[in-house]
């Protein structure tokens, strides 16, 4: 009887997910399971798969064999694991040297990050389960390669609530295109990431429609009260509906954001020195620099999980010229973020994670089949790659894990994504086996039925 087909409804939120959400205020702050080392997380996602062999973990054996055809280092089933007819070990495109007191290896392409090397904890044998960008990206964010499971930020929001009721608990700046990577899955919808973008010019706002100059706050509140009364009556009639509850909550949050967010996204209040520290004003990295500074401001204001996505790491060809450009666009902003968190005393309770969805092979890839090695790139590699951590609760200056001479299989300190997720939750004071949500007849976790906290890296 009530199947009107009108207006924006057809464009809007048609998928209704029935679920058993019932908390009166789903973003209310909740105590962790045990004493937390980290209060918040900033995740810098290097989308595309940065090359760990070029940046973080050079292999002398590979450099020795540079450009010489070898047999496949992969398996003994005769199957080539990469899409070309021969494998040419390829030395790093720039020197990789020991840095800081720890001697952690970092490329010359990462001069600013090298300056904060002693703050970093490098995982060198991280493993995930899929070789293609979309499933690998989804797994990095949700633990699963295909399903619409809740993203890690959503789990953290669900587990701990928010420190600032005027802001979302989870913000994702320049998010990956797949909405599932910042989705809430079967968790209450209010836990999903709120996307933001850094304005590319003075006219463009970071958050659209953040204010309505034509209405007073009182008129707006009156309208919202009426709207919510209508919404709640409908919800009562339908019993429970996670999506609708999420919308009702999102209106209240949006109303409060109007007061708080405009000041937060205005970076002009930051000192010139701070802006330069991140690389703001340098054309090659300006956008990422602003994103990182905005991330710090959001974290400072109490947002539980902030993600900054930086694209451009999928170097299948000509990595010699494209990798330096990708580094130039991102490494100063990331280093600036870490140094700024440190100088503000925030690094001790903020966990920073820097990673791609996978890494790249130590041997070259040439999709044309005819290019000289100087023009080659590298193929995806999920069998092992590097993830950087910094800050709260992790051992600074530690390098954990090692792979074989070809940089392929882990031989020590293997960390599967499930283990990484379990460890991040642990640092936040959450037991990954106890942070569950009932769905489809069983309790689900971020780590599903897997995961081990990597004690070796805990400070």
């Amino acid at each position: 009887m009530q199947s009107a087909a009108c207006g924006m409804g057809s464009l809007a939120l048609s998928d209704l997910i029935a679920s058993s959400a019932n908390a009166a205020s789903p973003l209310a702050r909740r105590a962790p399971h045990f004493s937390a080392r980290a209060k918040r997380v900033i995740f810098v996602f290097l989308a595309g798969g940065p090359s760990q062999g070029d940046l973080f973990a050079p292999k002398p054996e590979i450099s020795k064999l540079h450009g010489k055809p070898i047999e496949s280092p992969v398996g003994d089933d005769g199957q080539l694991r990469v899409g070309v007819s021969q494998f040419l070990p390829m030395a790093p495109v720039a020197p990789v040297r020991p840095r800081g007191d720890s001697g952690m290896m970092l490329s010359d392409l990462l001069p600013n990050l090298s300056n904060v090397a002693d703050e970093l904890c490098m995982l060198r044998a991280v493993v995930s389960d899929n070789k293609a960008h979309a499933p690998a990206t989804l797994q990095f964010h949700t633990g699963h390669i295909a399903e619409a499971r809740p993203s890690m930020g959503a789990w953290m929001s669900y587990g701990l609530g928010t420190e600032n009721r005027n802001l979302p608990s989870y913000i994702t700046i320049h998010p990956p295109r797949d909405g599932r990577t910042y989705g809430s899955g079967f968790l209450p919808a209010i836990h999903q990431g709120t996307p933001l973008r850094v304005p590319q010019n003075a006219e463009e706002p970071a958050i659209a429609d953040l204010r309505d100059d034509g209405s007073t706050t009182e008129a707006q509140r009156r309208r919202l009260d009426f709207l919510q009364k209508v919404n709640r009556r409908l919800l009562d009639r339908l019993q429970t509906d996670a999506q609708m509850e999420g919308i009702i909550e999102s209106f209240e949050l949006a109303f409060r954001m109007q007061a708080k967010a405009p000041g937060l996204v205005d970076l002009s209040s930051e000192s010139k020195a701070t802006q330069e520290m991140y690389g703001i004003g340098t054309p090659s990295c300006d956008s990422n620099a602003k994103a990182c500074l905005m991330a710090r401001r959001m974290s400072e204001a109490g947002v539980r999980f902030v993600q900054v996505t930086m694209g451009g790491w999928d170097h299948h060809g000509n990595i010699r010229s494209s990798l330096p450009a990708s580094c130039a666009s991102s490494e100063k902003p990331i280093a600036g973020l870490i140094a700024d968190l440190k100088q503000r005393g925030m690094l001790k309770d903020t966990l920073v994670m820097i990673s791609g969805e996978f890494g790249r092979t130590y041997w070259s890839q040439d999709l044309s089949g005819t290019n000289p090695i100087a023009k080659h790139g590298r193929e995806h590699q999920q069998e092992s790659f590097c993830t950087l951590l910094a800050g709260a609760g992790v051992k600074a200056g530690l390098v954990h894990g090692e792979t074989d001479d070809f940089g392929f299989q882990p031989i020590d300190g293997r960390v599967h994504l499930h283990d990484l997720h379990a460890t991040i939750l642990h640092l936040l004071g959450l037991d990954h086996e106890r942070l569950t949500y009932p769905h489809h007849g069983r309790d689900y976790r971020l780590t599903d039925v897997y995961g081990r906290v990597v004690d070796e890296i805990l400070a």
Partner: protein, 119 residues
């Protein structure tokens, strides 16, 4: 079957972008489903929604009897008759909402779950 488009979306894309419309360059089997505050901000503050609320109010005002107008609004927007309880609430709302009261009422209903979700 997924639809492959080779042209950018025609017209202003704000509404579609805010509500997870698939990007034209992407293959998408299924639309994303989200409920984030940026969507609420759009529904509360965007010129698009405000313009449509004003236009809807203007159209409704062609009916001069306010009780009949209220019934018409519910039929037009929600495709069902208004209940007695809702009518009482709506008139209460109008009585405190000043000169733009009907636009405000239309605006609230355009942002409601019942309208957005076609329930």
């Amino acid at each position: 079957m997924p639809i492959i488009r080779d042209e950018a979306q025609p017209g202003p894309a704000t509404l579609r972008n805010v509500f997870d419309f698939a990007q034209p360059s992407e293959l998408t089997g299924k639309r994303n489903v989200t409920a984030v505050p940026t969507q609420a901000l759009f529904l509360m503050n965007s010129p698009t929604v405000k313009k449509h609320a004003a236009a809807l109010a203007k159209r409704m005002k062609q009916e001069t009897d306010e009780t009949k107008r209220m019934r018409l609004l519910w039929l037009t927007l929600l495709n069902r008759p208004i209940t007695d309880e809702e009518r009482a609430e709506a008139f209460d709302f109008l009585s405190v909402s000043g000169d733009n009261a009907w636009t405000e009422l239309c605006h609230a209903l355009l942002a409601s779950n019942e309208f957005l979700m076609k329930l």
